[in-house]
Amino acid sequence: MSGQSLRRGIARGVSWSRQGEAVTTKDREQLERIRERFTRTAQSFAQFALGARGEEAERLARMAVPGLRDAAGAVALDLACGPGTFTRAFAARVRLVVGLDFTPAMLSQAREAVARAGLGNVAFARADANVLPFGNSALDLAVCAYSFHHFLDPARTLRELNRVLGPGGRVALVDIIVPEGADSKLNNRIERTRDPSHASTLTSDEFTALLEAAPFRSIASETSERRRQFDDWMQIMGLLPGSSGYAETRRLMETSMPGDTAGFHPRFVSGGATAAVTASGAGLSPSEEAASSAKREIEFVQTTLFVVAEKR
């Protein structure tokens, strides 16, 4: 028996993939973490994403759709569509958008958002990003926004997107990235402490390499920065001051302040005026410093990559 058939034949927790890339126990555990997180925070996350990311969705659509072969007749996938922020923007520009997500609570939110927008050319299904329910070359465009950092094997997901896209088909991706020069490990440790369903934030170079390998050819790429309030960011996750998740995430974020090691550009904000990171706690004992910093609001920056690439 070859190693391959042995793996497929007897391994427990591994099953049914005919594509040569099995779904493992680790994959299933990650999907459950994602489902737990986006079910528990469905309301707060939908409210945030539909509001704060609406303009980004328009921006990505403007980058991806013009120049697409037969855009008016195109069928697009919004992979891990969440509450439908990007689904809406693309539905206004193509023939059909299929929103896929693993979390039923997100699909409910997305369906409502699309109905509110009066869009009739959207359909939804539950699926796993690595095992898509589409044939080879079935689609023209695949959108995936703020989701790659939840994927355990982004290379595999990109190969799967490549498979379902036809010739000339495009991927349009948006995700947070670790800025160049930042400590990727610390950056991801902060993210994972806040959100157990966070897998890994990539760098821009890592995204480029993964796209090349899938293979896709990059057409356009941009980065942008979003300034955020730490407490708001925590609240979206249901983490309030006083909870252990809040305290530990905040401690790590503060640890990254000297030298901005994690690349979040965090800084204390007090009474509308901003205090320079290096000046924080000057002249205070460590305990006084901790007590005073705990009351101060933190602002930080998330760096986002927008990229459109064509199937090769």
């Binding site: 099953s15 049914w16 993939s17 005919r18 779904v23 299933r28 069928v75 059909l96 299929v98 693993f102 039923p104 699909l107 409910s108 369906r111 359909a123 939804f124 299904a125 539950r126 699926a127 796993d128 095992v131 898509l132 329910p133 589409f134 044939g135 080879n136 079935a138 689609l139």
Partner: protein
């Protein structure tokens, strides 16, 4: 609200990639090759092999 016809035209079995068909009771999508039936819950097809049932011969 039923499952959109346009979606049904492009959905395939995620395992064997055979186009799926609506079951007679409209409660699922069936793959004629591997005989998996994917449930439709709240009008949304659940295209997950782990949630599919397999029809007996």
């Amino acid at each position: 609200m039923a499952v959109s016809k346009e979606l049904l035209e492009i959905l395939v079995c995620p395992v064997c990639k055979t186009p799926v068909r609506l079951t007679p009771d409209s409660k699922g999508l069936k793959c004629s090759t591997c005989r998996r039936i994917y449930p439709i819950k709240d009008d949304i097809p659940v295209m997950l092999p782990d949630e599919a049932s397999v029809e007996a011969e």
